[in-house]
Structures are given as C-alpha cells and as structure tokens.
Symmetry: C2
Subunit: 243 residues, 2 copies
C-alpha cells in the first residue's frame, strides 16, 4: 500500500489522481495499457473505492484514461490525425474518411526561427529538424506543412529514410524517439496565398488559405513539434458548439 504524497490540504481524490497521472507521465503506464481495477487501486492507496472512482473520473475528464464497462480502465491512446477531419472536409466518393498521402519536399537540420524556438521552449539559436511536406488526395495538393522538431530529442528521426515515412508522423515519433504526443494547442487564422504557396497548392495567388499552427506536447507538457499547415479555405470548415 503506497501512501498518498503531496500537500495533504488537498483532497485525497486529487492527490490520488496526481499519483496516477504521474505513472502515465513517466511512461510506467503507456497508451493502450490496462491499469489496475478501481478496487485494487483503492486498496493499494488505502482509500475507499468511491474515492478511487472519483480520482479515475477526474483523469477520464482530462482525457488521460478511458473506462470500459466490464473490461477495465485503459490509458487513452491519443489520436490526432483524425483531428484534421474536424477542419478539412476531405471525403471520398462514399464520404468515408481518408488520410491524405504525404510527399516530403525537404528535410534538413537548421537554426530555428526564434519564434519557433520560443514556442518549443528551447534556447534561441538552437538547431532543429525542419521538414516540409505536401499532403495530397488523389494527387491533388490540399495542405502544405512546415514542421520543426527540437534536437537532440529527435536525433533518431534523422536516421529514418524519408521513403519510409508515411502520412502519420506521431506513431513514428513514438516508435523511433519514444516521444508520445499527448495533446496539442492549435491556433487558426487565414491569409492570402503568396507566389510559393500558390504554386505548391495549385491555386491562384491571393486565394484565401486557412493557416493552422499546432504545438504538440507530451504528457509532461514539453513541446515536441511545431507545425504550420496551410490549405485552400474553400475546402475548409471548422465546426464547434458553444454554450
């Protein structure tokens, strides 16, 4: 039976939630893993089952855990790649979801722009991996992406043959660099296509483009990836509900 650490002025269920969150952050529980049952946890930490449930509910609320009636409690596997679909309406003939192909235009090591370095939380003038990609559906370009990865954290990524890099990057980060993207902040605006982007995306200069900036972080909150994606606004629609 582990004791509950932390400020004991805080409620027990919160301290328990902190303890469980720590296990996810330090990767002793990995995405997809089943964690012990609520009764076992309650016993291990010496709290009532109801208190354990409250802690678990809080972590479900944070998006860290997923519970399945009768099966168990699992570390949620973050999947963002579908998040693009909340933005762009790529749909096949049958309206099914499809993941755009990826064509890597460039990958190099360079000094990061100061704004990127700042957002990634590394010192000004640091080097990082720069990658430009074009995303296409049926050969038609729909998204131009600029990506920056900090070094040395992503050093192993450089060893991967670009030909082996599929459209989904986060599983690759996970497998090759043990970096798990847990959440991301996105910020969205629009601008007119300049000559370069117009050529890339095969639209007229001045065509309105949606610009999505994304900063991806791991469970600990460290920034892992900076990404800017641009696509023709015409294909773009973002929906949300407010209350």
């Amino acid at each position: 039976m582990s004791a509950l650490a932390g400020d004991n002025r805080l409620p027990r269920y919160q301290r328990l939630a902190d303890a469980l969150r720590a296990r996810i952050v330090d990767r002793s529980w990995k995405p997809g893993d089943r964690i012990p049952s609520e009764n076992v946890i309650a016993e291990q930490f010496g709290v009532a089952p109801g208190t354990a449930r409250q802690a678990l509910a809080a972590l479900v609320d944070e998006g860290l855990l997923e519970r399945q009636h009768g099966r168990g409690t699992f570390v949620r596997r973050p999947s963002f790649d579908q998040s693009l679909f909340r933005f762009f309406r790529f749909s096949g003939a049958a309206g099914e979801r499809l993941i755009p192909e990826s064509r890597i235009l460039r990958r190099s090591v360079d000094v990061m722009p100061s704004e990127v370095a700042r957002q990634l939380g590394v010192s000004e003038g640091s080097e990082g991996i720069a990658m430009d990609r074009l995303r296409l559906i049926d050969g038609a370009p729909i998204l131009a992406e600029q990506i920056w990865l900090p070094l040395p954290r992503f050093q192993p990524f450089l060893a991967i043959d670009p030909a082996d890099i599929g459209p989904l990057l986060y599983p690759i980060y996970d497998a090759s660099c043990e970096q798990t993207v847990a959440r991301a902040e996105e910020s969205l605006t629009a601008e007119a296509a300049d000559a370069t982007l117009a050529r890339l995306l095969r639209v007229a200069r001045g065509t309105p483009l949606i610009v999505i900036d994304r900063l991806a972080r791991d469970y600990a909150g460290d920034a892992l990836e900076w990404r800017r994606s641009r696509g023709p606004a015409e294909r773009f629609r973002y929906r949300t509900e407010i209350r």
Copy 2:
C-alpha cells in the same frame, strides 16, 4: 415527493437529470435562479443524496447548471457575447476586453433564403426578420453581420426602435420576446472579400475574410437565430486545445 418518470431501464440519476432539465427547458427555473439544494431534491424525488449529486453533476457537465460551494446550485446564465473574443483579437490599448459598437444598417421583413429557413427549421418561403449590422471599434469596422430571425416568434422585436438596440442582442431577445439563447453551433471558414464587403469593411477586394456561421438555439433545441459574420482574417485568431 415526485415520482421519477421515464423509462425505468435507465439509471435513476439519468431520469432525475431529465426531470431537472425539463424544469429549465420549460422555464420554471430561469437562468440565474437558485434551485433547491441537493438534499431537498433527493428527498423530493425519493433518491439517495449521492444519486442526486450524480444527476446535478451531469447537468453541470452539460453547461446547464453551476454549483458554488456553500452558496447553492444555479441555472447557468449563458453568455456568448464573449465568445467573439475567442475568435477575434479586439483589444484596447490596455488589452482589456471590449464589446464592439453596433451600427444597424437595415432591418426588414422578407422571405428567407431557403438555406436559412431550413436551418431555422421553418417551412420554405416563410417570412422572417432580416437585419444587417456593422460592428466597429473606435469607428473602424471589423465585422459585418447578417441576421435572420423567424416569425412570428420574434414579432415583438420589430416594435423596438433600432436606436434602442445595443450591441448585445441576446438580452434583448430575452426581454422582449422571452427567447433565451442556450447554446449555438458555429461553423467557420474563409473567403475573399467581394466588392460590397470590401467597401463595408474598408479593405481591398480579395482580402481574406473569416466567415462565422452561427445557429443559436434555446434550451428546447429550437433554432432562434441565424447569423453570418465576416471580418478581416488578419484580426482573427481562433485557439483550441485538442487531446
């Protein structure tokens, strides 16, 4: 003690939540009201206090209620007007929030466009109130709005002198027509400014504009207002967190 209505295969806390939600929908509990305490509710409906708490928590989650430790449980007062600030970065010199002034350009009764009628859930060819507004900060236009309100629901709104209509419409709907906006669906894209919008917003033709479509609904889910707002993309930035 009221009995718990509804399908008794559903959990009690859900049926209790349904019963409480109904009181908000039928306006016997209005926004800002304090509702009975959890113990009173538990007794009234013949459930355990814990079950009542679970029902209340569900409604808090839906955004219908707000609880304050030691004070009570209140019907949440929906306030959307700040929702604009999640989108546009209007900030004064001190960075304080400010509500853009409003200039009403037109108000008339017309046959609704079929798409608007469809979204408002009224029959094709129905008449409604059309209103065009310009939102300005320090005299500079930043948002052009087109608004449609269904008739006869909003008949009393026509009696209001446009000069008496301030920037915030929802409180006016509430006071004059007893229509409370409880939630809204927004959908967002971008387009190039045509000649009319360019003149209105004082930008060059072809300038990228953000387009926000909003469908506002009451607690019962009836559509109350259709609104399309357009502003220069340059002043626009939408932020969200995904996980």
